[in-house]
Symmetry: C2
Subunit: 301 residues, 2 copies
Amino acid sequence: MPDFTKGAAWIRGEVVPIAEASIGVTDWAVTHSDVTYDVVPVWDGGFFRLGDYLDRFEASVAACHMQIGMDRAAITRALSDMVARSGLRRAYVAMVAARGTPIIPGSRDPRDCANHFYAWCVPYVHVVKPDVAEAGARVWLSDEVRRIPADSVNPLVKNYHWGDFTQGLFEAKEAGFETVLLPDHAGNVTEGPGFNIFALKGDRVVTPQDGVLHGITRRTAIELCAAEGLSIETRALPISELMQADEVFLSTSGGGIIPVAQIGERRFSNGAAGPVALRLRARYFARLEAPDDRTEIEYGA
Amino acid sequence: MPDFTKGAAWIRGEVVPIAEASIGVTDWAVTHSDVTYDVVPVWDGGFFRLGDYLDRFEASVAACHMQIGMDRAAITRALSDMVARSGLRRAYVAMVAARGTPIIPGSRDPRDCANHFYAWCVPYVHVVKPDVAEAGARVWLSDEVRRIPADSVNPLVKNYHWGDFTQGLFEAKEAGFETVLLPDHAGNVTEGPGFNIFALKGDRVVTPQDGVLHGITRRTAIELCAAEGLSIETRALPISELMQADEVFLSTSGGGIIPVAQIGERRFSNGAAGPVALRLRARYFARLEAPDDRTEIEYGA
């Protein structure tokens, strides 16, 4: 029996243990990071908002001029089969479209490549550990690294260009913080590795609009804010405005709504998780159970 | 007998045919493009300027806070053994340091990862085909994509963040050009996928200094310009100044000095390769034979 305890992958039509899933070292997915992907959470045996993630993934694949030879039904079947085989009931599920390698050896033309699709799943990933999230995360605002601008690499097309985040994470970890938030070149905040950010002031919530991924969990968070009676503004968020917020929180498919207790030296809510952020967090986990948003997985016997 | 005609790889201490060399889909080299690399050319059975490439590679590995557990002698041995086994006498040789995956499952801390080294070689790659290079390449200057800025991802640490180049290459290829040159956010030119750029005006040559890789072939080109009696300036190169050049040429380890006949609508040297660029190109190929710059490979019987 194959061991799926660490996860599974769907690759070239086969479901294999995650440790056996690999791609060639000359695939442009590696050598040019020429790849787009998406991540859908599985919670208690069902995909959450699968249709929204697939919408975004298909838009990203088209934006990259890739043909992966699989329609939405085929992708859905691959993801479902893979998660079912893995047995994982709470999982981080990645779907990936890769440029591949040129059919004409030595070609430097991306149009000559054989694109391909693969997917993998591992036990659910928390961007910030749950106990830390409950207490309020401590976030480092980089003063050295700027988020890659949208006219260099489009953040709406979900991508693996994480060099700015990685450099920022080293700064953050060395300073004793959980994660990092990157500013842009104009003094606004953008996003961090795997999350969007929200600032609450009074009954108004602001989240950056440009130069960031439009996360599906960001969308959920916006809907939950509305349900909480808060007004939402999606626009540029200057660092100075962020620092004057009453509460700050993150949104991520890897943990939902995460209250922020501290950004650099600045403490919010007396250095604890804010009450509104905690209510939104509870609403998020309740929403994960809402039947309308779920695609149940048939795990078999 | 393994088939090395398409190339070879050194991976986990073994030399294998290139088609068998792969890395895990969850390696941060893939999922975060968290990798640094270098490429050294092999020409007629010898590495060219191997020491300079190794200097840069080791500096990049240190800048990424990676430990690959191999010193310079071990890397040299791995590269030599691999190329010898491949039998390739003219080769593109890549050495790669990858972040790996966290030793602690689920960790998001890059310090928790097991870094690793691998290498691969394929038949020599020409960034621009030799016949096109001799006639003068046609280069597209992107008007939509800006090079990733140095304060987002440091271009001196050679990396696979090619999203800007790939987007630009699609523009270039659709417009019928060979390759693409990217401007920065301040109206200066930077570099293209795999090459640096030079502008000649009178007896003065300018090449960009900031926001670009300091290519080893760029260094060779600078030395060859001096030998040609030209003065060199390494500084910002505005687009307007580039367009007023007498001649333009590229430098790349994938083909040496490449004359440019045209950038967008602007033709140089009446739309042909410039005479100075062609002389530098000839000097480059002569330099590849210079014993002082070569590390001969022992191919065995």
